[in-house]
């Protein structure tokens, strides 16, 4: 066991890990931040996406030790300080961008990374960017709508539900 420290959602956090401890396990089991989900554990589904130093990564395919000292943002860091939903989260609710909700933490984190890079993406750019995020429920249209809405764009042209 070695000690690792990183900044998670703006707060300095530390805990004991093994070399093989995955970032997602450190977040969920070490820090109790269970909002980040494990869907596949094989780097395919994107349910586990978090930001490391502002970049979207699959936390099931990163060792915690490899990101020691980094700034990590998880779904728990996406709400407003008063506890209300952040803009992207609210848009997912407003546009019915989730059903079971399992993929949603990763979807929201990928959407946030996209909007940071490209504040007004086209529908095609959103669909392309979500290539690594799999949803078994929604059929994606409402997720794309939610992200369009979160970026302040008109959603009426997005394919029907």
């Amino acid at each position: 066991m070695t000690k690792v420290s990183m900044t998670v959602n703006g707060r300095s956090m530390s805990g004991d890990i093994e070399g093989r401890t995955l970032l997602v396990d450190f977040l969920r089991q070490g820090l109790g931040l269970t909002g980040t989900h494990v869907g596949c554990d094989t780097s395919q589904c994107g349910a586990c996406v978090v930001h490391v130093d502002g970049k979207a990564v699959k936390s099931c395919t990163v060792f915690a030790a490899d990101v020691a000292g980094a700034e990590v943002t998880t779904i728990e860091g996406m709400g407003n300080p008063d506890g209300s939903l952040g803009v992207i989260q609210q848009a997912f609710q407003d546009h019915h961008g989730l059903q079971c909700g399992f993929c949603t933490p990763g979807m929201v984190m990928s959407a946030a990374a996209l909007l940071a890079e490209n504040p007004k993406p086209t529908e095609a750019e959103i669909r392309h960017y979500l290539e690594g995020n799999i949803c078994r429920c929604t059929g994606y249209h409402n997720i794309v709508k939610a992200i369009m809405a979160a970026s302040g764009q008109d959603v009426s042209a997005v394919a029907a539900e």
Partner: protein, 263 residues
Amino acid sequence: MYAFDFVKPSSIDGAAEALQEEEAMALGGGQTLIPSMKQRLAAPSVLVSLGGIAEMRGVCIADDGAVCIGGATPHAVVAAEAAASYPALAALAGGIGDPAVRNRGTIGGSLANNDPSACYPAAALGSGATIVTNTRKIAADDYFEGMFTTALEPGEIITEVRFPVPQAANYQKFLQPASRFALTGVFVAKYADGVRVAVTGASEGGVFRWSEAEAALSADFSPAAVEGLTVSPEGMIGDLHGTPAYRANLVKVLTKRAVAAAG
């Protein structure tokens, strides 16, 4: 996954030394190695992260005009930073996997792994790149030795990859949508002294140069130049996604598309 010791040296020398340890392995972005370790297909005793070595990250231009990419540079950084100097290479890097894979996966890891369906091997072979390691320089033509096999010695680290910049180039990837790798991919590059055509995803022997197309395109750089050529399905990969004949046909189709797109 079996337990191991994790180290993260800050210099190439430090990493080379740590890799002398019995059963030590280098860790690039982990996008291939971590899944292999979960399946216990790889079980290093020491994992040496290359992510802390600043001199192995980033894109620069050498005195001779070649684009030099640090061995631990993630695909997303190549997509952004090589866009002006070598657009076809940047586009290839920007088409690997998905955004999260591109933020972690590195050029050194991709070339060391030499997956038969990976994209970077086609760019390296198609550009006649030089693979620079901590001990020597290897020409791409001497580097790829077959599926998952390269000229690298145990413990050898890819520190940089140098790409001579062509007059025109293009990569066409026929996407295998489940894996997001190439079902087949073709990289075409036109240099003053001839055209190079490298094919990934098709052959049981891994990435290869299609020399007949190179000769035809060196004489006439147009899609029509390869029209009369055929690719033998012998030795091509056959799986549930495509038969050997299907892949052999794709090689020609994608070569024509790449030439048309390169202009």
